[in-house]
């Protein structure tokens, strides 16, 4: 399968998984559920689910388990976008080519949609398809990456840095938290699913098998599944994730000054307008482009020990650097 078909396949799986793991639009409270689905479905590049599936494939994970992990990390990403767009944050009206949630609904609904999407991510990681020890491991990764020493902490530093002259190191620290932590979690969650999920996927989700313990009700004496990711593999994947995480942000900053809003599906030029420090404002456009290429090289090198199994991860590194939106 070529990369483009693989990517479309994962994006379609992710859309289906989000549809499955989000409450139905008709379920009460219907307006909230409709707004959650408005925010999460039908758009987005699904970069985090792609990373999760690519890392999972490198470690032989079952696709049905990866769907749950990928949906959860995407719900966290979407919640962060919804809150980031609120008037008290970036006050943005356009996202993924559609009116933002608080514009389409109202500010309070935007707040609650984000809150409920965060909860739903952790509900999703308790899906019956995932072995119990894997659930706990995935929750640990995602919660740390989402919180005050991860994404939310990066947002706080971002807010505090508006109008300040950050140096490159401070900018990098901010982005390592704001976007890097969740991208890294997506890779790690895929790898964990490969390492810890293999022993027990005996049946697809929702198909009870006679004699199989009901999910969520572990029975004393049942062996736990799998083993965690080996240290060397995890270090290699973290190095990969760090490189593509920074590359992603550098390219975002480049696109903010070189692309238009219609192409981006969000407001272009807003960083300069908000006087936010960016790689382009600190390094200039040419050096930023060179940095993105060098980070792509770092990402490829980190994957060497995986050989052909890391094909999709390598292709995603290329995509992240070469993307036009």
């Amino acid at each position: 399968m070529d990369f483009s078909d693989w990517m479309k396949g994962v994006q379609a799986r992710t859309e289906a998984a989000l549809d499955h793991y989000l409450p139905a639009a008709g379920q009460a409270p219907a307006r909230l559920h409709e707004a959650m689905r408005y925010a999460a479905l039908g758009g987005g590049k699904r970069v985090r689910p792609l990373l999760c599936h690519a890392a999972g494939e490198a470690l032989g994970a079952a696709p049905g388990m990866l769907d749950a992990a990928a949906a959860a990390v995407e719900m966290i990403h979407v919640y962060s976008l919804v809150h980031d767009d609120l008037p008290s944050m970036d006050n943005d009206a356009l996202r993924r080519g559609k009116p933002t949630v608080h514009v389409r609904y109202d500010d309070a609904t935007g707040l609650l949609v984000g809150d409920a999407l965060q909860s739903q991510a952790f509900v999703t990681l308790c899906a019956p398809v995932l072995p119990v020890p894997l659930r706990a491991a995935l929750v640990g990764e995602l919660a740390v990456a989402s919180g005050s020493v991860g994404m939310a902490g990066g947002q706080a530093i971002d807010l505090a840095s508006v109008g300040l002259k950050l140096d490159r190191a401070a900018l990098e620290t901010m982005h390592r938290l704001k976007t890097g932590a969740l991208l890294r979690a997506a890779v790690r969650m895929g790898a964990l699913t490969g390492a810890m999920g293999q022993a027990t996927e005996v049946a697809p989700a929702g198909t009870p098998v006679a004699g199989t313990p009901v999910a969520g009700t572990p029975v004393a004496g049942t062996p736990v599944a799998g083993t965690p990711v080996a240290d060397a593999q995890r270090a290699a994947l973290d190095a990969y994730a760090d490189a593509i995480g920074l590359a992603f942000q550098v390219v975002d900053d480049i696109l903010d000054v070189t692309a238009d809003s219609a192409t981006l599906g969000k407001t272009a030029g807003k960083d300069a307008l908000a006087d936010k420090p960016t790689y382009v404002s600190i390094l200039g456009l040419d050096a930023s482009r060179a940095l993105a290429k060098s980070l792509r090289h770092d990402a490829h090198r980190a994957l060497e020990s995986f050989g052909a199994r890391a094909l999709r991860l390598a292709q995603l590194a290329d995509l992240i650097v070469e993307r036009a939106y």
Copy 2:
């Protein structure tokens, strides 16, 4: 130990557990961590931690494990208060006798403090002191109770009902989600800790024992701990939680019209001002008081099969109905 001393003991443990499970104030990003601690520490009745410990005691749970569960459920409660106080929601300036987070800091920080406290609750449920299967079970309870079919969903219904004439059934549905779901989760999480935590607490947190698997790295073949709460016990505890959950709200509505802001530590009379439906506005004051007493009776009856083990749960039902703030 008399009830008052027991309660003070749990409140002190909870304060210490929150201090332990929240990132240090000096840790970067320092302003966010300081604001999270401002919101969570040094106040509050700690009703949910009290319920968690009381239910845990009824099922023989280890106090150190209950501390983690109680801190997590309190972090969710505090996050909901911080977001509820934001200008786009209730726009409240006073909470637990102090300026609200967005007043003391700013609106964006209020948003991020709530977001990060929610993540931190799930980080806390991955604490090394908890056996891995218990972590997954607690996450499942707390995530469902926090989300769109629990607390956040109740908030959405509450918002949509301002100015409407709700009947008693609709009001009850709203409160079952908005406050009832988390109170029930607190009881269930204590019970789960009793049922699933007993087999493995061989050492206090942070004291590695030779031969013990390192927390977070489950090893294939390790037996999982404990068994879930028996159906009859869970049904009894759910009935108890439903009764005290509604009683809690009825008494809140009574106090909103009979107590002053200084006693409550939050703005009194705001429901009537906001034209929000309450038990007092629907039933009147006398019938609301009679309802609270009848719910207390229901709570006591639900506990009968537990005998003396449920002493603290019974005393908490009394406290919830008789409280003055």
